[in-house]
Symmetry: C2
Subunit: 130 residues, 2 copies
DNA sequence: ATTGACCTACGAAGCCTTTCGTATTAACCT
DNA sequence: AGGTTAATACGAAAGGCTTCGTAGGTCAAT
């Protein structure tokens, strides 16, 4: 298994649609993306998705005229990968520092803070274990 | 003020050296980087740093023959920017989810967990306030 | 059958990043 | 001064990402 590259910005936008919407055609993806970013060209999205198929980021079903694309990598796995990457590249591996900046940026609401606290509890319970 | 782009991978490596070591010459930076990544070419680093000066990512003092480069953006500010960026691009803005993946990736040690918990306390004290 | 709508395939351009070779300039030493 | 060392400047190539125009195929309805 070859070590996966980070998906590019464009690829990530498409993956996010596929993760949220499930298997989709190029037209599906394009119409969603062009809502957020008007002016997005159809063939641009098409080409990108073709390339992603080449890279095995997505699979496609060619049974119908309009091919149906599905993500081949999982969202949580990708998130983990990208977070780990950022952790190394800009925080020298310090998760604490990263969390701090994340909270400073987003000023998470109390509910989110509670969620995080809850996660910490779980991590401390079984977590230290390797 | 024009909205800053994300620094590239190469630029980030250099910035990290400058943040840690303070104002440095190309030779300084090169000798440190080539320790971690043998085979790194001297002129490669030079060129990169020249480009960074063009982009105002760094400033340089040309008084001496070997120019001395200093970072022009701050580490914490860059960290905040990049974390916010990742938050939007891959976590749809959910800090809680991002923190979770960060902890899952790194299995932070108990000491770090305690630090994070402490930060949460502070955030809840003054932080929730809009 | 012809048209029109919609789809994929393909190639190419433009831009950015990284890398490196070569040329030039400056400093130092004897 | 001449030669060596070490620095910068510059150009260019290679590769990746994004964008888009154009060509060609398929299907259905007229």
């Amino acid at each position: 298994m070859t070590k996966q590259h980070r998906p590019t910005d464009g690829e990530l936008e498409i993956l996010r649609v596929l993760w949220r919407e499930g298997p989709s055609t190029v037209r599906d993806v394009h119409s969603i993306l062009s809502k957020a970013k008007p002016g997005t060209g159809y063939t641009t999205v098409l080409k990108l998705m073709q390339i992603m198929a080449d890279k095995d980021l997505v699979s496609r079903d060619e049974k119908n005229k309009a091919h149906v694309y599905s993500p081949r990598i999982r969202e949580d796995q990708t998130q983990k990968q990208m977070v780990g990457d950022l952790l190394d590249r800009v925080f020298g591996g310090s998760a604490a520092r990263m969390v701090m900046q994340a909270l400073a940026t987003k000023k998470a609401n109390p509910q989110e803070l509670a969620e995080i606290r809850h996660m910490l509890d779980e991590f401390e319970q079984n977590g230290g274990a390797r």
